[in-house]
């Protein structure tokens, strides 16, 4: 059972993982590598370990590639490269279950949010909640949305959930919540989606959001009843 973990052993995994290469940059783009406290500007052809986090400033972007995934992160976004991966639905289910495992025992019902801020904008006819902001948490959600839009929906949900936990204010942004709840619903995770919509109902919503959430809940309730 016992062993000693040497520093070299701990870092071996990161060295061997497939790094991302910076293909293009525009504007202000920086990265935080590993557990480093500092952000450093990144440049084209630079190699980024998977435990890096990349951030783009307003009207900036960066294109990265690891041979399997080619991804462009738009402006005002943050993305942990560990989330830039394909996940199976089963892995997503495990990741959602992990949230409870992280909590200390005797978890009580989460308190309702007091934040009444409303974010979100309509982009290309699709409700996309990406916002221009300097808020790090919102930037992470922006990054998560872009993950979803690139097809990595499961990873996007995991990224969003992590963001909600670490930046609680982002949980009050109804547009993001509805966006990721819709993804859960679209993936067939009806119970998780229903729980999410139920929590969203307690947020301050616009009339259209209220209607959308209610419609989704009714639809999911029917599905769950038929189960």
């Amino acid at each position: 059972m016992k062993t000693i973990i040497l520093f070299t052993m701990l870092t071996a995994g990161f060295v061997s993982a497939q790094n991302f290469t910076v293909k293009k940059t525009a504007g202000k783009v920086s990265a935080q590598i590993g557990t480093n406290e500092n952000w450093t500007a990144i440049s084209v052809n630079e190699s980024l370990p998977v435990n890096s986090i990349i951030e783009t400033g307003k009207n900036s972007s960066v294109q990265i590639d690891n041979g399997n995934i080619n991804f462009i992160l738009k402006g005002s976004s943050v993305l942990p490269l560990t989330d830039l991966k394909e996940m199976s639905l089963n892995d997503l289910i495990l990741a959602l279950a992990m949230e409870d495992m992280l909590n200390a025992p005797k978890k009580k019902q989460e308190a309702n949010s007091k934040n009444t801020a409303v974010y979100g904008a309509q982009i290309n006819g699709i409700k996309s909640p990406i916002v221009e902001t300097n808020d790090f948490g919102v930037k992470r959600l922006n990054g998560a949305v872009q993950l979803a839009e690139s097809g990595l929906k499961e990873s996007a949900v995991v990224d969003a959930k992590d963001t909600y936990r670490k930046y609680p204010a982002t949980k009050n942004i109804a547009s993001f919540r509805i966006y990721f709840a819709n993804i859960l619903s679209g993936l067939g995770l009806n119970e998780d989606a229903y729980d999410e919509y139920k929590q969203i109902q307690s947020l301050k919503l616009t009339d259209s959001q209220k209607q959308e959430v209610q419609n989704k809940m009714d639809e999911l309730a029917m599905k769950l009843l038929k189960k």
């Binding site: 016992k2 701990l10 909590n103």
Partner: protein, 650 residues
């Protein structure tokens, strides 16, 4: 000239008839005749008396038998005194003398046969098989009168009495075998061993009880609990056959039975029957039986008849009379009635003394127990581990349905003072009690008691090592923190926990020299004071020590159990900074270095992983801990897949 008579020691004749072996417990405790191995279902002490009357021309009453029986475990001892097992013969020998007053006086011969006492011992080898032996003492008194002349001036005829004694011992062995409830078999010897003191006079010695060897075989069939059919056969071609019928009433057992017997020295072919009725409870038994012969017994017999046919049983022969016999049995049970019994006891695990209260809710042994009664029983289990417990440790009562079995868990308490370092084999005494003070049953099993540093390899149980040394850890931590009092007092209260954890870690590692090779001391964990004294340890020792230092000053920690991959596992520590997610920026700008847990009140708190084997500084240890946690627990879904587990220490 007299021919040899057929006189033998009695064999299988029983004044109360022949009963099923299993049902004789409270009716016949003394029987050497129908229970040749002399074993009984008696639980402790038993006293039996047989009192009866002979219906000859006049009614004479006798105390036939009094016996005392005692059971000692699987051994059964009986001693009996048989004053009524006696037969006297008085014959006119055909001679008479005419006295000077012209009266005549007959000359008699008196033969007296007695069985005085007997001893029996048997052992129950199993529920199916028992064997034993009996020893009995017989006396024989012979008296013959005769006259002989004395020649002098006058011819005198002198009357003379010739007395002879020829006592002897008889020893036999017997076996009882019951392969099932349906059938019971018995086998015993007759006159296997005899020790004689023969009469000197050959004229008398021919009337001694003979000791022809033989065998007695019996079979009892019980088609139901309440019915028994019995057959007894002796190699001299005597036999008995009988049936018993039982029924329950008045909190006891009623039984009726009748035995018919054939004695080749008696006529008719079925010489007689022994009807009997019994009633028995756990405390006493009473039996009324009779012996009814089918031939007329109140007739005058001749000496020549006796001489020619003899007898083969002292209390049952052609000269015996009809009888009525009352049998009284009293049982004294100083041993509590056993209501429950161990079928098996299974030790689940060796004892790890450090686990202390672990054994309060997790049994160290489980017994399979049977309820022997026809009512619901509350079994009270208790145990005592030699060398660990000062007294019996009682475990929860288990209710068991009638004649049902149940699994009974045994728990224990490890004394907080237990400090033995070395492991050793000890033993556990398990007890089962019901309503009695003394146990119904007990069992003993060996058990391994590990030393106080022994660990069962489960990370969840490292908490016991953390808690055990709180006093030392608290002194150590307070001493260290007191040196940073001014810094701690001036910083934001919200950050004080984080900085205390940092200060203690940096001090902790500054006192350590090395991290030991863990494979060399698997399943052995050092207490914090030992780690500090030895200036090193492996990941378990270092995590236990650091966690203990923090917990002792109120900083909440958890252990991260990285399950073995390719046989190599790992443990490090999580520290609860109690900072809110919004306060994360106070300690780091990198959000991959912490994660959020909800506390018991549902409030989000920042926890940070610390790699205790990084003997550098807090910052580096935090980085290493965070990298491993992010990689193994979160990114690779280790927590969800069970490869990583968070074990809270409280």
């Amino acid at each position: 000239m007299l021919s040899a008579a057929n006189i033998k020691a009695q064999s299988s004749f029983e004044l109360s008839g022949y009963w099923l072996p299993g049902n004789s417990s409270t009716t016949l405790l003394n029987s050497f005749e129908s229970n040749p191995s002399s074993f009984s279902m008696l639980k402790d002490w038993g006293l039996t008396m047989l009192y009866g009357s002979d219906f000859s021309s006049s009614v004479t009453s006798n105390l036939y038998l009094i016996s005392l029986s005692k059971r000692l475990g699987n051994n059964f001892i009986t001693a009996r005194y048989t004053p009524g097992y006696q037969k006297d013969f008085v014959f006119n020998n055909g001679q008479s003398i005419i006295l000077h007053d012209s009266t005549t006086q007959s000359l008699d011969s008196k033969f007296s046969y007695k069985e005085l006492f007997g001893l029996g011992f048997s052992h129950k080898f199993s529920d199916k098989f028992s064997a034993g032996f009996t020893v009995r003492y017989f006396t024989q008194d012979f008296n013959q009168e005769s006259v002989y002349p004395i020649f002098s001036d006058t011819l005198y005829l002198v009357r003379e009495s010739n007395d002879e004694k020829a006592d002897f011992w008889r020893g036999d062995i017997g076996l009882n075998y019951s392969p099932s409830d349906f059938i019971s078999l018995s086998l015993s010897t007759q006159n296997l061993l005899t020790a004689n003191a023969n009469a000197v006079d050959p004229q008398i010695s021919q009337y001694e009880l003979k000791s022809d060897k033989g065998v007695l075989a019996g079979v009892s069939i019980s088609p139901s609990k309440y019915l028994g059919l019995n057959l007894l056969y002796e190699t001299n071609r005597d036999w008995q056959i009988g049936f018993n019928n039982f029924f329950e009433a008045f909190n006891g057992n009623f039984g009726i039975g009748v035995t018919a017997f054939h004695d080749k020295y008696q006529s008719p072919y079925i010489a007689g029957i022994i009807p009997a009725i019994t009633y028995s409870t756990k405390l006493f038994g009473i039996s009324l039986s009779g012996v009814k012969y089918f031939s007329n017994r109140n007739i005058v017999h001749t000496f020549s008849g006796f001489q020619n046919t003899g007898i083969d049983n002292i209390i049952n022969n052609r000269y015996s009379f009809d009888k009525a016999v009352l049998t009284l049995t009293f049982t004294l049970n100083t041993i509590p009635e056993r209501s429950v019994e161990f079928l098996d006891v299974n030790i689940l695990n060796e004892i790890f003394p450090i686990l202390s209260d672990h054994y309060l809710d997790k049994p160290f042994a489980i017994a399979k127990v049977i309820n022997l009664t026809s009512h619901v029983v509350n079994a009270k289990p208790s145990s005592k581990i030699e060398g660990l417990d000062n007294g019996k440790i009682e475990s929860p009562v288990v209710t068991i349905l009638p004649h049902d079995t149940a699994e009974v868990p045994f728990f224990t308490i490890i004394p907080s003072s237990y400090e033995k370092k070395k492991a050793g084999i000890s033993y556990v005494d398990f007890y089962l009690s019901t309503t009695n003070q003394s146990p119904d049953d007990q069992s003993q099993k060996p058990i391994l008691i590990n030393g106080i540093n022994a660990w069962d390899g489960k990370v969840v149980n490292l908490r016991y090592f953390i808690k055990k040394d709180y006093e030392y850890s608290m002194d150590y931590a307070k001493n260290v923190l007191s040196r940073y009092k001014s810094e701690l007092d001036t910083m934001s209260y919200a950050l004080s926990i984080f900085y205390k954890a940092k200060i203690l870690f940096n001090n902790f590692v500054s006192n350590l020299v090395y991290a030991a090779n863990p494979s060399a001391e698997a399943d052995y964990v050092q207490f914090p004071h030992e780690t500090m004294k030895l200036k090193g340890g492996n990941c378990d020792d270092l995590s236990v020590c650091y966690s203990s230092l923090l917990e002792s000053v109120g900083i909440q920690t958890a252990l991260v159990d990285y399950k073995p991959v390719n046989g190599i596992g790992h443990v490090n520590v999580l520290v609860n900074t109690q900072l809110s997610p919004e306060q994360a920026r106070l300690i780091t700008k990198n959000d991959s270095k912490y994660f959020i847990r909800k506390n018991e009140e549902g409030i989000d708190e920042i926890w940070i992983p610390v790699e205790t084997t990084s003997l550098t500084n807090f910052g580096k240890a935090w980085d290493l801990g965070a990298q491993k946690f992010d990689d193994d627990a979160l990114d690779n879904l280790g927590l969800a897949k069970g490869n990583v587990q968070i074990v809270d220490v409280y």
